[in-house]
Amino acid sequence: MRRRTLILGLGFAVLVYLILFFYVFGLSPMVTGSSQAKWVEMELSLEPKFSDTEICKECHYQLYIGMKNHSKVSCEACHGSGVEHTIKRTSDTIVKDRTRDFCLNCHLDVGGRDAVKTVNETHHPGIYCVVCHDPHK
């Protein structure tokens, strides 16, 4: 009688241990990744807000082919996210910043800017760059 109780108790303990073991290391939703797969689907369902130059080109083809200096720069680098603009097609859904500071964001003569042409503040101070330089040419 006592021996039988011992075997039953041990068997029960082993069973619980094995179930826990397989759950923790093999079958729990975290390890099998079912919750993670759900999250990946959620990530994929997000809508992009930045479009592509290829899409801008469809309407603004003249600007696109006339571009020389900024030809490798994506439209949305300067004009901001464009998906809303592709749907509404109004001028208030896109950024058109003509100020001097906007150009100098990239073109001011700070150290380490070897990749772009730079100017310093002595170059016609206070005048908007776009008066003389067309960024789309």
């Binding site: 919750s35 990530e43 994929l44 949305e76 001011l108």
Partner: protein, 245 residues
């Protein structure tokens, strides 16, 4: 239940576990990598703004998925700590256009290092996460399951690159996803798209014809903090060894 039946029951468990765990084995996947050319970065901060717009990150520039560090190193040999000056992009517009930074860069070797989550192949944040909220996707991107995340901030402590932070509204951690929703649609990540000089290049290194394969093949690339053994997926061309922090 006798002993024989009990053993049969246990034996039944094993194939089930093997089936669940082995179902993803044996497929070939993409291996996404970002190559950053430090020589081309001009520190304009377009990538930071684009990332915030694309991913609904708050416009507080201390909480960024990607950011730019400007380094101004004294020419000749720097001998003191003050010879290497570092500035992190912290203001919204014209990040480095304030007078103090222009004064700092005068007569010094200056370069800008864009930083983001390195999507390590052996990520400390994945290793320490107590609830398995951080995981690797099949193409190597480290993602964060915000529904499982409990906001314990272990990952913030563990990340050697400081690439993760607590989102002030969602109260969970937040980090770069390589714009996973964009790259799976064949678009570039927002920071790569917004970079005016092409300093950031993103692509699949398993694809022989991709731009990143060519860059990795033709250039000497370095990673940040290789001594941590994290094997990052963000590779830098022309990285200066003063980028130590």
């Amino acid at each position: 239940m006798n002993r024989r039946n009990f053993l049969k029951l246990i034996a039944g468990f094993l194939p089930a576990v093997a089936l669940v765990r082995g179902q993803n084995a044996g497929e070939s996947h993409k291996s996404y990598v970002m190559v950053v050319d430090v020589n081309k970065c001009i520190g304009c901060g377009k990538c930071v703004v684009a990332c915030k717009v694309e991913n609904d990150v708050p416009m507080d520039f201390k909480l960024s998925r990607t950011w730019i560090e400007g380094y101004a190193v004294k020419e000749k040999i720097p001998i003191e700590e003050s010879d290497v000056k570092k500035e992190v992009l912290s203001t919204s517009k014209n990040p480095f256009l304030d007078k103090s930074w222009i004064e700092t860069t005068r007569g010094r070797k200056t370069f800008y290092v864009p930083k983001l989550c390195n999507h390590c192949a052996n990520a400390p944040c994945v290793n320490v996460c107590p609830v398995y909220a951080r995981f690797y996707t099949k193409d190597g991107v480290v993602l964060l399951d915000k529904e499982t995340c409990i906001g314990c901030k272990y990952c913030i402590v563990a990340c050697p690159y400081g690439a993760t932070f607590t989102h002030p509204e969602q109260k969970v951690t937040d980090k770069c996803t390589f714009c996973y929703h964009r790259i799976k649609r064949g678009l570039k990540p927002a920071c790569v798209l917004a970079c005016p000089t092409g300093a950031r290049v993103f692509g699949d290194v398993n694809d022989e014809n991709s731009e990143v394969s060519r860059l990795v093949k033709e250039n000497r690339v370095a990673v940040l903090k290789p001594e941590w053994g994290t094997f990052p997926r963000v590779l830098y061309i022309g990285l200066d060894s003063y980028v130590v922090e």
